[in-house]
């Protein structure tokens, strides 16, 4: 049996090896993804993001345990976890320690945990993360928890990957100015204030609620700030907090004891139901696939163009740019036009 068939039939080693091949961008992984893509699209992908030390790993541990319980008459969900940690920019190495907080999950064949390093991706989310999630999805996991450190651009990346974004905060964080500055609030579908046994939880909740309420009354964007942050408006995640839409719940949890976890899981499931019933699941999915396709086309067109460019000519053109004798807009037009005039396109996806 080949590796992809084994993966589809639930072979964990086949999944593990496929994930490595995807992460390393091997040529086999491309053809495997061609098949896996057709089997994916069923899982509920939940992004768990928040600052370092907010308790994300411990919370993910608890969430996985809770998703493994039967849900009413439904059987327990099978849970995959993708834990993303930063690569050291100095050495290219990484210590991935999320499993330390997830020891409760070992021995359960319904759970699969994979640690990934960002390997220098700017946004913080591993470049291969989306494709690794596709493989986990094809392997039949019902819920995929993607844990990332929520700083910088990661928050935008996670909305592009996840159906539901869970933002983890702590008491004392997010006093009003901080919360507005953070910007990250607008991407959250569910917020949880973890370590809720610490002082300041009410103030934090109030501050978060105020910012959310402010976002929801912004008429020009239909209830969110996304359009200011997104470079392509059509890509903006659906507005949260608008009257007819989803009201972002703020929950309190103590992940070390499990307090508040069942309510949190319930909220995550409600968001899933909301997405399905409102038709947003389908429209988000379509937008996401189209965006992925178009960014792929952009990348391939650029690489094709670059491979046809004479390096010396390109250097000369760049020198004109560096000395500011030509603007980047003009130069781009010029280079593209000369390419079209002189060569017939021959494009290959690698």
């Amino acid at each position: 049996m080949n590796q992809v068939d084994a993966l589809l039939q639930g072979d964990r080693l086949a999944l593990a090896r496929t994930l490595s091949q995807i992460e390393n961008g091997t040529s086999e992984s491309r053809s495997m993804l061609d098949v896996l893509f057709q089997h994916a699209g069923k899982a509920h992908i939940i992004g768990v993001t928040g600052p370092t030390g907010s308790g994300k790993s411990t919370l993910v541990n608890q969430l996985a345990l809770a998703f493994r319980q039967p849900n009413g008459t439904n059987p327990p969900s099978r849970v995959a976890i993708l834990a993303v940690d930063p690569t050291s920019p100095f050495t290219g190495g990484a210590v991935l320690g999320d499993r330390v907080r997830m020891r409760d999950l070992s021995g359960d064949p319904g759970i699969f945990i994979r640690s990934v390093a960002t390997r220098g991706t700017l946004g913080g989310l591993s470049m291969a993360a989306a494709e690794m999630v596709t493989a986990m999805d094809a392997a039949g996991f019902d819920v995929i928890l993607v844990e990332t450190v929520g700083v910088g651009q990661t928050e935008m990346e996670i909305t592009r990957l996840a159906h539901t974004v869970l933002l983890v905060e702590n008491p004392g964080m997010g006093d009003d100015i901080q919360a507005i500055k953070a910007g990250i609030l607008e991407i959250a579908n569910v917020i949880c204030i973890n370590k809720a046994d610490r002082p300041g939880v009410e103030q934090t909740e109030r501050a978060l609620r105020e910012v959310l309420d402010m976002n929801s009354v912004n008429p020009s964007t239909g209830g969110s700030f996304h359009h200011f942050m997104e470079d392509e408006n059509q890509d903006a995640p659906p507005p949260t907090g608008s009257p007819a839409g989803w009201q972002v719940p703020i929950l309190q949890t103590i992940a070390t004891t499990g307090e508040g976890i069942s309510q949190l899981v319930q909220s995550l499931r409600e968001h899933y139901t909301y997405l399905q019933n409102s038709g947003q699941w389908k429209s988000n999915e379509s937008k996401r696939l189209r965006r992925n396709l178009e960014s792929l086309i952009r990348e391939v067109l650029f690489q094709t163009w670059l491979s046809r460019m004479n390096p010396q000519e390109y250097d000369q053109a760049l020198d004109r740019l560096f000395t500011r004798s030509v603007s980047p807009f003009h130069l781009a037009e010029e280079l593209i036009a000369s390419d079209f005039a002189s060569k017939t396109p021959s494009i290959h996806l690698k």
Partner: protein, 135 residues
């Protein structure tokens, strides 16, 4: 994306001394490897499960409890059962010389006692993976 060496650093058994394991983890990271650190008091089953899910290239075990002659054979056996018998296993800790010889006979790729230089560990891991890691 380039291939990175992924190493599991685990502490089987009941002793709580993880300083050595952490030093090795950091040294391997500084050598550009990705280290999956599992924390204290791991059972052989937990270690092998983590090695499988993480698809690591090598496994490092830190044992200071004296139980290495029980734990290591069990881990090697479970690795084989899970089709991971080809992954090199290294053991660090207080290991008497005769035990080190016995462990190597069982298939352990390297045994590192107190005072081992981290450079030696790094180069042993690299050497064990030469050829196996390409592509």
């Amino acid at each position: 994306m380039e291939k990175k060496i992924r190493v599991l650093v685990a502490k089987p058994g009941l002793d709580g001394h993880d300083r050595g394991a952490k030093i090795v983890a950091r040294a391997l990271r500084d050598a550009g490897m990705e280290v999956i650190y599992t924390g204290l008091r791991q059972t052989p089953e937990m270690i092998v499960e983590a090695a499988l899910q993480e698809d690591v290239d090598a496994i490092g075990l830190s044992i200071l409890s004296g139980a290495h002659m029980t734990l290591v054979p069990r881990i090697l056996e479970l690795l084989k059962l899970n089709r991971l018998g080809d992954r090199p296993v290294f053991v660090g800790g207080i290991i008497p010389d005769e035990d080190a010889i016995a462990l190597k006979k069982m298939g352990v790729a390297g045994v590192f006692g107190p005072g081992t230089k981290t450079e030696e560990i790094i180069s042993s891991v690299r050497l064990a993976l030469t050829g196996a890691i390409e592509g």
